[in-house]
Symmetry: C2
Subunit: 290 residues, 2 copies
């Protein structure tokens, strides 16, 4: 088969309290990724702010930005200049009182191809997301974006625990699933929990690559914020779940060249899509089948 | 929480050309598992025969057995005597010309609780299953069996690659998913493939434990037959995908005590079921969403 090489850049970093500073820092890291050859560059969840869902504080709603505002404009200009695709997850203000954990996909000519809004919203001690984020709805979830460098699907953090989200995005034609993430351990949790959580987090995402015969690229932030210590470990997995490249627990620009032609090779050898029993999957639409 | 201990026995072994011999051997191994404390004992896929789907040969249909025949009767008597639950996967003759890759679940009093018929049927070089097996249909797939020692769901081999099968079985209330299996490498495949395949096989099944917050118990045969070299490696995973116990690549009776009360603990800490977006999952019922 003819090779279809594409280079993915994942940017895992820390954030300060100042969204503008974070934007400039990460624009610098995008330049670094592009210099290293990255063609599709994905930032971490809520890339320009702290992970603020650690408590209930309505001042944080001021950090939300409209999709047609300055934040996206800056990235769009940069994408055009560098001729790279940028996946930028941010706190979106859709309307007065409607805020989303969202992302935009910007094509290599600077055009905003659209946005995806986090569909599965967590809510646990230290992760009070149901207070801040209206869940994505039918209009924006689940989606594939046909970029200059490949068809990509985008999901956000908690979505990663749901095989349904990965499957539907793959069925829409995604060759790479991107998972911007903010995951870590709470101060009450130790090494044992960290290992168990990170193992599970890697396994579930690698399983989406396996089940769907596609690439998975996951980006996680690093650093200690008031709530969690984020473990980084951003990675790219191949279409049989192979760990192709992985970052450590510090700031890192991880650039990985992949070959999209291996997707069809994989699906011919292990033809899972061929044998799906769509006649028997209706109970998937139930809360419990009790 | 009050502990709910149960002990699982997985029997991974070789098979000879003689189904009767294999039955007797494995009845001996069931005794051994029961002596070691196993309460729910699961045999490997097509437990009393070679993995015969390596070529097209209609003589193998003679190995199929009715569910109300001698084979199941022998195991039922044994289950009653030992007071253990037995999951017995076998080549089922349902009618003249309808054969299934099936299993029965026998309760600890010897009663046959029902059968499950493999839903996803592979068909690849050396695994010509679509020739031999009619796929399971709505009547028998997907199912949960309420046994003396716990609610168990059963799936067979190729089913393991499908998150849908695991999800639906868990939604029906399964606390443990059993995956009897026959998987190995062909003579043309080397160490690299073996590692990649076995990794993927473990990851996808551990991911079902994670996504559904339940236990997964997988049994694989061992030994070299005319087609494949089966890698064994039977294992039990906990409700966050933890590898609790794993067999090697030789004949082994693997007994593992688990605590079912950890399921609810896991689901309270990581409440994935709470947040499923059943309003958005209809595309799961499509072949492709193109």
């Amino acid at each position: 088969m003819k090779e279809e090489k594409v280079s993915i850049g994942l940017i895992q970093t820390t954030c300060s309290k100042n969204p503008k500073d974070n934007l400039y820092t990460q624009m610098g890291l995008i330049r670094e990724a592009a210099e290293k050859g990255a063609q599709i560059i994905c930032l971490q969840e809520l890339f320009n702010t702290l992970y603020f869902c650690v408590d209930y504080n309505d001042e944080y709603f001021d950090w939300a930005e409209p999709i047609d505002g300055e934040l996206v404009k800056s990235l769009s200009d940069l994408a055009k200049e560098l001729e790279v695709v940028i996946v930028a997850p941010f706190f979106e203000k859709r309307a007065k009182g409607i805020y989303h954990n969202s992302l935009v996909v910007i094509d290599a000519d600077g055009q905003v191809l659209g946005n995806y809004r986090k569909t599965h919203i967590p809510d646990d001690p230290g992760f009070y997301e149901k207070y801040y984020f209206t869940p994505g709805d039918e209009e924006t979830g689940f989606k594939v974006f046909d970029t200059k460098f490949g068809k990509i699907g985008t999901l956000i953090c908690w979505d990663q625990w749901y095989p349904e989200a990965a499957r539907i995005t793959a069925l829409k034609g995604a060759d790479i699933l991107f998972y911007p993430t903010a995951i870590g351990t709470l101060p009450t949790e130790g090494k044992k929990e960290k290992k168990e959580y990170q193992d599970a987090w890697e396994i579930i995402q690698r399983s989406h690559a396996i089940a769907n015969g596609c690439f998975v690229a996951s980006v996680n932030r690093v650093g200690k914020e008031s709530g969690s210590k984020f473990w980084g470990g951003s990675f790219v997995a191949g279409p049989f779940g192979q760990m192709l490249n992985q970052a450590g627990s510090k700031e890192e620009v991880l650039v990985t060249e992949i070959d999209l032609s291996t997707i069809e090779e994989q699906r011919k050898t292990w033809p899972f899509f061929r044998d799906r029993r769509i006649d028997l999957y209706k109970p998937m639409l139930k809360r419990m089948d009790d």
